[in-house]
Amino acid sequence: MSVLELDRLCRETLRDHAFRKAMQTDPEGAIARYRLTEEEKRALLAGDVVALHRMGVNDFLMGYLARFGICGLNIQNFSERIRSAGTAGGGH
């Protein structure tokens, strides 16, 4: 599990505008520099925030993916999906 890498990746979409752009246009290529497992890559590219939440990725940081329209996410579908994760917790 590379939760710290995923947290970092989410934060870089805020801080690094070139990376943000790359994540918006070619996420598969953009995530190559991160050390992620296949499962993590799949969940990320599918915008599966419930799976990422269960892996322990920080919810607040995942919000940047919705805010910047990354991996098919927007505020509406992020909200629907994360709410289905149900219980409290997630993040570190």
């Binding site: 710290l4 947290d7 970092r8 934060r11 805020l14 939440h53 920080n58 919810d59 607040f60 940081l61 995942m62 919000g63 919705a66 805010r67 505020i75 509406q76 992020f78 909200s79 629907e80 994360i82 709410r83 289905s84 994760a85 149900g86 219980t87 409290a88 997630g90 993040g91 570190h92």
Partner: protein, 301 residues
Amino acid sequence: MDCRVTPLTRPRGNDDIKSSRSRELHLAEIVAAFGLPHTPYFPSKVEEEGPSSPTGIMFGKARDALAAARPDVIVIFDTDHYNTFFFDNFPILAIGIDEGFRGPNDEPRGGMPIYDVPSMPRLAEAIRDEGVRAGYDIATLRDFGCDHSVMVPLHFVNPGMQWPVIPFFISGHVPPLPPAQRCFDLGRQIRRTLEAYPDKLRVAIIGTGSFSLEVFGPRIRPGFTDGVPDPDWVHEVCRYIAAGDTAGLIAAATEDRMHAAGNVGGELLNWIAMLAFTDGRKPDFLDKQMENGHAYAGWRL
């Protein structure tokens, strides 16, 4: 555990004694304390809706009260939102010690100016040095920026960043949280340093954060980026604050209770550190905002 019965407690309405003591001894004195929100889109909201909008009015009240207290410096208790710190280096307590700092460093939506805020490194050093010697492990931050959680309240109450600001960071989002009593005691320790500081400074204190708020987590409202999972807790926290019952608030604010109130519920700890300066006085104003699970409060001390 009654936090109000302490050597630091002063009788109410005894301002003359307090100020004559600090005047004669040329010591710093605490002149005001505030609890404020830091919702990232409030600057753009008030820009759109004007100063007579509800948010504009509530921040305006705090701004006017702060100006009336004529501060020389502000100490703000805050929880960073993974911008100044990250999980690779994540202190529970930290203080910014430098000539100044810049922010916000996290592009809050709607945009707000990037400010250069002056600070008071010698005073910040004294807070750290005496704090560490008293048993508080306070990390040092130099050459740093702050995110919206420091900058939004300052944007409203410190126009033009005219007063220097010392940011003090308390980890309030992810477990393990420092205990509420520890944060209150930390506030008392900082107060001891300030009130013995050999400089005629008028010091204002701000604690910023929400009581019940979930941001981008499972308990947000449908179609929104946030929600208030525990409105009852907001009422309860405000009852304690309105009554000046800090000891009651500390007893109620367990780690489980704060996490249950939302994934930023531990920001209450910043208020609790601030309350160490209020001697259990009732606030001059307390405006509860259920929509955001937070409040605005002020004390002239």
